[in-house]
């Protein structure tokens, strides 16, 4: 079994007839691991770092980088810079729907941003303690992800439409999303959005706040609790580290990035 053979603690290598059906891999790793267990030295099976395949910019991969970084997980990145690299990934059958993001993790080749995010959130105990907490986290995360994807897509629009899209993002943030989160924090008075515990929802909200602030620095002026939230979450050691220069956090999209993506995807 090709994928089974590649699990022996060595870097996943690209083999010709890759079978995309990882549920044939023996599922012998613990279902849920505590944060302590995750940080313990592991048998070779789980030693490989997650590997991210994407363009050299934010796009749809940024929320994944944030989640891994916040969870204190080291990860590797392969940047798609040429059409040839992309075609090779496709030809090797590693992209289920021919698209990136692609994350190699735990012997799987996962694509589809939300599938990857959910898996990581669950794996690193950032997805709530029961279905009711999980659904709240999902509702909040879906909302903020929608907002951030609008920003990511705006970069590819002609200048006038781009301005319009970004203005709409700020408007939606101020009138639709941020008031909701301000109210949530106000109603329970706790430090985190769900269950009095740090979760994926908090990471995404911080990422969204920072992204919208890049568009309009005054966006939090009516949201005192979100201001405190921003400071508090930014000071979490793993996140503080990620926010420093030299981390794997990517800058806002510029014309170089857009050109590079268009080139690779032949848009």
């Amino acid at each position: 079994m090709l994928i089974g053979q590649s699990l022996e603690g060595v870097e996943l290598s690209i083999t010709k007839e890759r079978v995309i059906n990882p549920h044939l891999i023996p599922l012998n790793h613990p279902r849920e691991e505590s944060q302590e267990e995750i940080r313990k030295p592991k048998p070779a099976l789980m030693a490989a770092k997650p590997k991210l395949w994407y363009f050299h910019g934010r796009g749809r991969m940024e929320s994944i980088r944030w989640l891994l970084a916040a969870a204190g997980v080291e990860f590797e990145e392969e940047f798609l810079e040429t059409r040839e690299q992309y075609e090779k990934l496709q030809k090797d059958g590693r992209l289920l729907f021919g698209q990136v993001p692609l994350v190699e993790i735990d012997g799987m080749e996962l694509t589809q941003t939300r599938a990857i995010l959910s898996y990581l959130a669950a794996k690193y105990n950032l997805h709530g303690k029961d279905p009711k907490e999980t659904v709240r986290i999902d509702m909040y995360a879906d909302g903020t992800l929608d907002l951030m994807l609008m920003v990511a897509l705006a970069a590819f629009k002609p200048p006038e439409e781009k301005e319009e899209s970004l203005a709409l993002v700020v408007k939606k943030a101020k009138t639709r999303y941020f008031p909701v989160f301000e109210k949530i924090l106000k109603d329970h008075g706790e430090d985190f959005l769900v269950g009095n515990k740090f979760s994926w929802a908090d990471i995404q909200l911080l990422e969204a706040i920072l992204m919208v602030e890049e568009l309009d620095g005054s966006v939090l002026c009516d949201f005192p609790l979100l201001k405190e939230f921003k400071t508090r979450i930014s000071n979490i050691p793993t996140i503080k580290k990620f926010l420093q220069p030299g981390s794997q956090r990517k800058p806002p999209p510029d014309s170089h990035y857009v050109e590079a993506v268009r080139n690779v995807l032949q848009l």
Binding site: H23, F97, V180
Partner: protein, 223 residues
């Protein structure tokens, strides 16, 4: 919470249909409160029922859930249609997201300007036969099992079969070269709960026609 789930949406497929399919396939009876006027939607917004001022909204287990994916994942978890562990769930999510991507293109087709429609349809058909259906056919081929993940019915199968019906409505010939998908469609369609849902008189909604489109535009204030 003994009450049935209550779905708030307009009387059409839209973004609620996949939720109807999932509940129906899980054998869960549900109620529907149809939004018929813009004022009905305003009322829901004003009484704080819609977290982000949007529908779909589903009242279930004492919570008012919004965001289609959040709702689907909650329902799938509750009714054991989400695999047996994290890795199966990841595959189910990956497949479901692919279905959602193609489904979204088909969903938005009625809103496409008339002069762009033919090109859009051609693009959808191409994506269907070159990207999405081959991917799912390959998954089924790779393990030879009856269902996409873990040899057991999951939300991924239900979403995919719903999509196959949509594809068929668009152009039946699109399914021609995908025997395993045809097999999955037949198999899932024959499950008692799904069979019932596919019969006339169920809560399944018909394809959008001009009248329903106008109604939706009016309710959601889309120009």
């Amino acid at each position: 919470m003994a009450g049935k789930p209550k779905l708030h949406y307009f009387n059409g497929r839209g973004r609620m249909e996949c939720i109807r399919w999932l509940l129906a396939a899980a054998g869960v009876e549900f109620e529907e409160k149809f939004i018929e006027q813009p004022e009905d939607l305003d009322k829901l917004k004003n009484d704080g029922s819609l977290m982000f001022q949007q529908v779909p909204m589903v009242e279930i287990d004492g919570i008012k859930l919004v965001q289609t994916r959040a709702i689907l994942n909650y329902v799938a978890t509750k009714y054991n249609l989400y695999g047996k562990d994290m890795k199966e769930r990841a595959l189910i999510d990956m497949y479901s997201e692919g279905v959602a991507d193609l489904g979204e293109m088909i969903l938005l087709l009625p809103l496409c300007p008339p002069d762009q429609k033919d090109a859009k349809i051609a693009q959808i058909k191409q994506s269907t036969t070159n990207r999405y259906l081959p991917a799912f056919e390959k998954v089924l081929k790779s393990h030879g099992q009856d269902y996409l993940v873990g040899n057991k019915l999951s939300k991924a199968d239900i979403h995919l079969v719903e999509l196959l019906y949509l594809v068929e409505e668009l152009d039946p010939s699109l399914l021609a070269n995908f025997p395993l998908l045809k097999g999955l469609k037949a198999r899932v369609s024959n499950l008692p709960a799904v069979k019932k849902f596919l019969q006339p008189g169920s809560q399944r909604k018909p394809p959008m026609d001009e009248k329903t489109l106008e109604e939706a535009k009016r309710i959601f204030r889309i120009k």
